[in-house]
């Protein structure tokens, strides 16, 4: 950790060319994020027991979907056959392809207000993802709403708004991207994650203390002596306050020690 301020040095707004390569790459990554996340989950499934599909299945299914879905759709249009697309193919069509297109466009374009442009694009990604997630829900049935009607309406609205924000960011002068710092977000998230994972098996004392110390890594100004003392006091305080004073049920000690 050479730079102690925890500042990401991802170029400055004065160099639009460099910015666009990074921007396009990030959008491209976003385009394939659902597939990658599923792969990661199924890989984790090899060790734990979360698996729905094996990693190999995930790769082949998504790979096939990414290659086939467009020809299938075009074929459907060409000869009027009704093809039912699988969920993976729909993901490729609804989410991944449009975002890849946007990534290519971003590579070529020079948004004049990057803050708005990338904000709008990300909202479009969220909207497309929601449209895909709602694609298995039935729509209008006669004059009554189906479960999928409202999510689809809002997905379209969000898509339109995101696109509008992005287009305005493209053509009007505006603020550059703000600097992202990695240190605070990373360690605070890690602390939260640690707490979530540890609370059930290891109990409040271990989880709270570990989360405290990890969160403290979030700033270079931490002095470990005082942090340790405060951490111990805080942990003991929480251990008394939540289960005893407030009567909230939560395990205090690691499960293996209690048994």
């Amino acid at each position: 950790m050479a730079d102690t301020t925890g500042q990401l040095s991802d170029g400055t707004a004065n160099v639009p060319a460099a910015r666009n390569v990074t921007g396009a790459t990030i959008i491209l990554l976003l385009a394939f994020a659902p597939q990658l996340v599923e792969l990661a989950i199924s890989l984790a499934g090899l060790v734990g027991s979360v698996s729905a599909r094996s990693p190999l299945q995930v790769v082949s299914a998504h790979g096939a979907a990414l290659v086939e879905s467009l020809p299938m759709l075009l074929g459907q249009w060409a000869d009027g056959r009704k093809v039912t697309l699988r969920s993976d193919a729909l993901l490729a069509l609804i989410y991944t392809y449009p975002l890849v297109a946007i990534a290519v466009f971003t590579f070529l374009a020079r948004p004049r207000a990057p803050q708005d442009y990338f904000g709008g694009v990300a909202l479009m990604a969220v909207a497309l993802f929601a449209l895909w997630a709602a694609s298995d829900l039935s729509g209008m049935r006669g004059f009554t709403f189906g479960p999928g009607t409202a999510p689809r309406m809002l997905g379209v609205l969000l898509l339109a708004m995101g696109a509008a924000v992005a287009v305005i960011g493209l053509v009007t002068e505006g603020p550059a991207l703000q600097v992202y710092h990695w240190r605070g977000p990373f360690f605070v998230s890690l602390a939260i994650l640690t707490f979530a994972v540890a609370i059930r098996p290891l109990g409040l004392i271990v989880a709270a203390f570990a989360a405290f110390l990890i969160a403290a890594l979030g700033t270079p100004e931490t002095r470990w002596g005082e942090t340790l003392i405060v951490g111990v006091v805080l942990t003991l305080g929480c251990a008394l306050l939540f289960p005893y004073v407030l009567g909230l049920p939560m395990p205090l000690f690691p499960r293996f020690l209690v048994q």
Binding site: A52, D116, L137, F143, F145, P147, I199, F242, L248
Partner: protein
């Protein structure tokens, strides 16, 4: 009129019972304590402290939560004045003149005027709730699903118009919030929507979870950006002389009254609330002042008006919740959560069926305000000492507390992870200049809106024109449309931007 007094008397009877008095006191104190901490706003405070009220009887729990709410608000103004860090979004404008007063060695009068203003506003708002409660409940009986839907549309439009920055971005945030509220089982068919077979999502995203992420964790992460100890100019000198001079009182009295009126009105409207009220009150004071240049240099009206306004709004925002069952802002939505846990369905019937609860809570607000003024002014020294705790020690503690709080709502580790994810998302929102408040309002109203829209269309057999043919609904929608047009008109846009430049 007699009814009114009887009701209030009944309420005081409930609120003055020793246990409820104690709960009110504890709530106000804990709320102030957490509210003083920089980086945790009212919403995060209430979300974090929600679980501690689970074990209490319903009336006591709501009294305590209400105490936490205005205690937090009050604590926020203390930090604004003393440290120039608004503890809450509602006291952002208080920093402008409050901190200047503190720098001039007049921290004492600033604090006490803020307290007096809040108290006056609190008294007025309490009476207003009592007066408006019954008639509005009657009005609620005229409301069908179409009217409910239109009213909520109006609320959302309000939030758009009053949010700072781009109208487009605010609409986008509302759409996103509404979309998030759709996650989970569909109310009518039970179909699982956008839940990806995750069991914890089957019931939908927890409102407290999202609120904690977007307002709690995101704020902590953002505070770390500048380095933990950056720009924390603490007023180090001892605070001497709490009492305002007679001139201070004379100057601030009209400002307090104007702030109270403005705040009360903005609090009742859905989508309004305390943040907007304080901004509006400050701007209004500046507009009508004989010498506007005094503002920003320690004008006492600049403390009195927004502080009265935000407290008035904080309390009157209970009105739509208690009479119509519509939470007008995020904190009220958390209140709905607390009520549901205790098996209370907020709405017109609560007023009739559970007078203990409603009037007890209303009376306890007044008592709570009195407590705050009596207890807090002498305690200012303690709050200041708390502020001297360096942020590098404070923020890990806040992270841990928030995590425990979120976990204990459902005993679900997934909730904690989700809150963390929404924290990162909230950080991203801040970086791209998106306002999280409309998002939360959308999420609050989403389920109710969809339910009422679907019901309306079922009754009208798919005919959308009912929204325009029913007079009440048409009026509400017309107001909403007019507001939106006004907001988009360029001339007004410029004015509106000026209003928020101070923030």
């Amino acid at each position: 009129m007699l009814d009114l007094f009887q009701n209030l008397l009944h309420g005081f009877g409930v609120a003055l019972s020793p246990i409820n008095l104690l709960l009110c006191l504890v709530g106000a104190l804990v709320g102030t304590l957490v509210g003083v901490l920089p980086g945790i706003g009212t919403i995060a405070t209430v979300a974090m402290l929600l679980p501690i009220t689970f074990g209490l009887p319903p009336v006591g729990a709501l009294i305590m939560l209400a105490g936490i709410y205005y205690g937090a608000q009050y604590g926020g103004s203390t930090t604004s004045i003393l440290v120039n860090i608004p503890g809450e979004a509602t006291s952002v404008v208080t920093t402008l003149d409050g901190f200047q007063m503190a720098k001039q060695g007049r921290a004492g009068p600033a604090l006490s005027i803020a307290a007096i203003g809040s108290f006056v506003a609190g008294c007025a708002a309490t009476v207003l709730i009592a007066v408006l409660g019954a008639p509005l409940t009657k009005l609620a009986l005229l409301f069908g699903p179409a009217e409910y839907f239109s009213l909520m549309v109006l609320g959302l439009i309000f939030a758009v118009v009053l949010a700072k920055g781009s109208v487009l971005k605010a609409v986008a945030m509302i759409a996103l919030g509404l979309l998030l509220s759709m996650v989970g089982a569909d109310l009518e068919t039970g179909a699982s929507r956008m839940a990806f077979n995750i069991p914890e999502l089957a019931d939908g995203l927890g409102f407290a979870t999202v609120a904690m992420g977007v307002f709690g964790f995101a704020e902590i992460i953002r505070n770390l950006d500048g380095g933990a100890e950056a720009d924390r100019e603490l007023v180090q000198q001892k605070i001497t002389g709490l009492m305002p001079t007679r001139k201070d009182l004379r100057d601030s009295a009209p400002a307090i009254i104007r702030g109270t009126i403005l705040g009360s009105i903005l609090g009742i409207l859905p989508g309004g609330g305390a943040v907007i009220a304080s901004f509006a009150a400050y701007t209004f004071e500046k507009k009508i002042a004989r010498d506007p240049s005094r503002f920003g240099r320690g004008a006492i009206e600049g403390v009195a008006a927004p502080e009265s306004a935000n407290n008035a709004a904080a309390q009157t925002s209970f009105i739509p919740l208690l009479t119509l069952g519509i939470p007008p802002n995020a904190v009220m939505a958390l209140m709905v959560g607390a009520m549901t846990i205790h098996g209370i369905q907020p709405g017109p019937q609560v007023m009739q069926k559970q007078p203990d609860l409603v009037w007890g809570m209303i009376a306890s607000m007044w008592i709570g305000n009195l407590m705050l003024i009596i207890i807090n002014l002498p305690l200012v020294g303690i709050w200041v000492r708390l502020l001297r705790v360096p942020y590098r020690l404070m923020f890990p503690s806040i992270v841990v507390f928030c995590a425990i709080g979120i976990y204990s709502i459902n005993n679900a580790p997934v909730d904690v992870i989700l809150a963390g994810a929404f924290g990162l998302f909230g950080y991203w929102l801040i970086k791209h200049d998106f306002e999280p408040a409309p998002l939360l309002l959308g999420m609050v109203l989403g389920t109710l809106m969809e339910e009422n829209l679907r019901r309306t269309l079922q009754i009208s057999r798919g005919d959308w024109s009912v929204f325009l043919t029913r007079p009440l609904s048409a009026t509400l929608l017309a107001i909403a449309a007019a507001l939106l047009v006004l907001a988009v008109l360029p001339a007004l846009r410029r004015k509106r931007d000026e209003v928020f430049v101070e923030g």
